[in-house]
């Protein structure tokens, strides 16, 4: 894989934003002094007036965005995911999600793969915070192509959307025939007995883990949930009925994200099936730290090797209980 094919989802976000701003004069971007990192600054190529830097003031930015949206603008607000969703949570609650404002919250450098900056800048609970807000949609694109589709879907959707963007470099690994529909999960690989259910860039590692597990005689199915809300409940039910052991994989705290959403659905099943064992792979209620993205992913067992190892361990443990 040549280095040129590697892409961070924030890069594709920036390019898609420019494209949307060209097509639609209502598109406006706000940022909090991080425009060159979040890639929102690119919109100045189209129209410098439609980029407004609010300075280091996330709360002010969110409420300003709500005001712009009330006047018919489609507002993309940008900051690191950790500041955007944490610092300005009350503004998002009162002035964005409650009145269904047409604001797109673009959380950049989400997860632990921001790397060197350490725990204060890594966002491990943004999905929890955004998922519990009524009227909010939550999208987590996995690669560049899916990012473009997610940004366009967010733009088309009238109402608030949280878009989780990553700093992690990877190739476009999703199959070209994988259509993007908000709220619809996709099966990337068929399998039996075991399913790996992933969201965001670590979906690539889930696919690679499935390859490694094949060598051990395990053929897991692999699913991608690019939409955490509205959650694809029919797909979640199908997963519950079809597999014995299910693993969720996310670069996020295991409390409140994809794993929690799936667990909630599994608990409310009507189908007369044996409920599968669910194990959540992610940050296990801990803070991040400084390190390279690759080192952190390895430490939290979110790389292919770590995922495969966890799968084998859990299968082994559960077999002991079944005896």
């Amino acid at each position: 894989m040549s280095n040129q094919n590697l892409e961070e989802t924030r890069d594709r976000y920036g390019r898609t934003l420019i494209q949307l701003a060209r097509q639609d004069p209502r598109v406006v971007a706000l940022d909090c002094d991080l425009g060159r990192s979040t890639r929102s600054y690119g919109i100045t190529e189209v129209d410098p007036k439609r980029f407004i830097d609010i300075g280091i003031a996330e709360q002010d930015m969110i409420s300003t965005a709500a005001g712009l949206a009330s006047s018919g603008k489609i507002v993309f607000v940008n900051s690191f995911a950790v500041f955007l969703t944490g610092r300005a949570f009350d503004q998002i609650r009162q002035q964005v999600s409650l009145p269904k404002a047409n604001v797109k919250l673009c959380g950049s450098s989400a997860g632990i793969t921001l790397g060197a900056d350490g725990a204060t800048h890594q966002s491990i609970n943004d999905l929890t915070l955004m998922r519990c807000l009524p009227n909010m949609s939550v999208l987590v694109p996995a690669d560049g192509n899916q990012t473009e589709e997610a940004v366009i879907a967010a733009y088309r959707h009238v109402g608030p959307v949280y878009l989780r963007l990553s700093r992690y470099r990877l190739a476009n690994f999703l199959p070209a025939d994988c259509p993007f529909e908000m709220g619809k999960a996709a099966v990337l690989r068929q399998g039996s007995r075991v399913a790996l259910v992933a969201t965001g860039p670590v979906t690539a590692h889930a696919l690679e883990a499935a390859d490694r597990l094949a060598a051990e005689g395990i053929r897991p199915a692999v699913y991608n949930f690019h939409t955490i809300k509205p959650f694809d409940i029919p797909c979640a039910r199908e997963i519950a009925c079809r597999y014995e052991t299910v693993f969720t994989i996310e670069e996020h705290n295991v409390i409140g994200g994809l794993g929690s959403a799936l667990a909630e659905t599994f608990c409310e099943l009507y189908e007369p099936c044996t409920k599968p064992l669910l194990h959540r792979i992610g940050i296990r209620d801990a803070y991040g730290e400084s390190g390279s993205a690759e080192e952190l992913v390895r430490k939290h067992r979110l790389d292919a090797e770590g995922i495969a190892r966890t799968v084998l361990e859990i299968l082994d443990t559960s077999r002991q209980y079944r005896r």
Partner: protein
């Protein structure tokens, strides 16, 4: 700009107080003090300064009023109803399940409400957003924001004050209802905000102090927001919490509470006396 009809506006303010007190006899606890202190400010905005009416309520060129101190929304409900946006009789449903008149401003439920507020400190930022949109669309309307003095303890207010000044949003005008009390005591005791005029001036605003119950002064100050002002304008209005009901005045105890039937009758009587004396003067002159 028309000359303010001072007596007419004064009478209007007392009529608003009367409807407010009547509305407050329905339901349980209400925010009396801060609703009564801002009546003259709202009267001068809606009945003198703003380009606003029932017909204009969805017009993109209408002037906007944003109530950042959202707990005083009952006063705004009375005014919007006087403008004919909804019937006065419906106001008695305030805070009841299923009502259009929520405890704090809700843009999804009440026509004429421009911004979701209640959690304090967010109104000026919202107004800046509306002003930036107006600039992008080459519209000339003005945006008026009412803040409480206690509310100025919220840091976001000052983030927003910097944004308005930095982006030269001269069509934004702030009115601070300085009634000197907040929920649990006096502003000075809890966390002082003075020197207020110096603070706004230092943040790049033009500052106009007024007596917040003197309609002539308020109208004069508002008229200085005329499209030629070089800075956004902050009108610092000295007011009396609970204005117009003697036992509520200058106390934090009536910030949010319920009244006995007797207290209700006494409050209504005091306000009716004010209205009668003004009508009497009018008919004599």
């Amino acid at each position: 700009m028309s000359e303010p009809r001072v007596e007419e506006l004064e009478l209007k303010a007392w009529e608003i107080r009367l409807e407010l007190i009547r509305m407050f006899s329905f339901g349980k606890a209400h925010h009396f003090g801060g609703s009564l202190s801002c009546i003259e400010l709202l009267t001068c905005l809606y009945f003198h300064k703003m380009r606003y009416s029932a017909q204009l309520k969805d017009d993109p060129e209408r002037d906007r009023f944003i109530l950042s101190k959202g707990h005083s929304v009952p006063a705004q409900y009375v005014i919007l109803s006087m403008l004919g946006i909804f019937p006065m009789s419906e106001l008695r449903t305030i805070k009841q399940l299923g009502t259009r008149f929520q405890g704090h401003p809700d843009v999804t439920k009440t026509p004429g409400i421009e911004a979701p507020t209640g959690s304090l400190g967010q109104g000026l930022s919202f107004a800046n957003g509306v002003a930036l949109a107006a600039r992008l669309d080459s519209r000339k309307f003005k945006i008026f924001v009412l803040l409480g003095d206690g509310e100025l303890q919220e840091g976001q207010v000052w983030e927003a004050a910097m944004t308005s000044a930095h982006h030269r949003l001269t069509n934004v005008c702030v009115l601070v209802d300085c009634n000197k009390f907040q929920s649990q005591g006096s502003v000075q005791e809890i966390k002082g905000i003075e020197p207020l005029e110096d603070k706004w001036a230092a943040f790049g605003w033009g500052v106009i102090p007024v007596d917040g119950h003197d309609v002539a002064q308020i109208c004069r100050a508002l008229d200085r927001v005329d499209g030629r002002n070089e800075k956004p304008v902050a009108i610092i209005a000295s007011t009396v919490k609970g204005k117009g009901v003697s036992f509520m005045e200058n106390s934090f105890k009536y910030h949010n509470c319920s009244l006995t039937e007797q207290e209700h009758r006494a409050a209504e009587r005091e306000i009716l006396d004010q209205i009668r004396s003004r009508k009497h003067v009018e008919s004599e002159s």
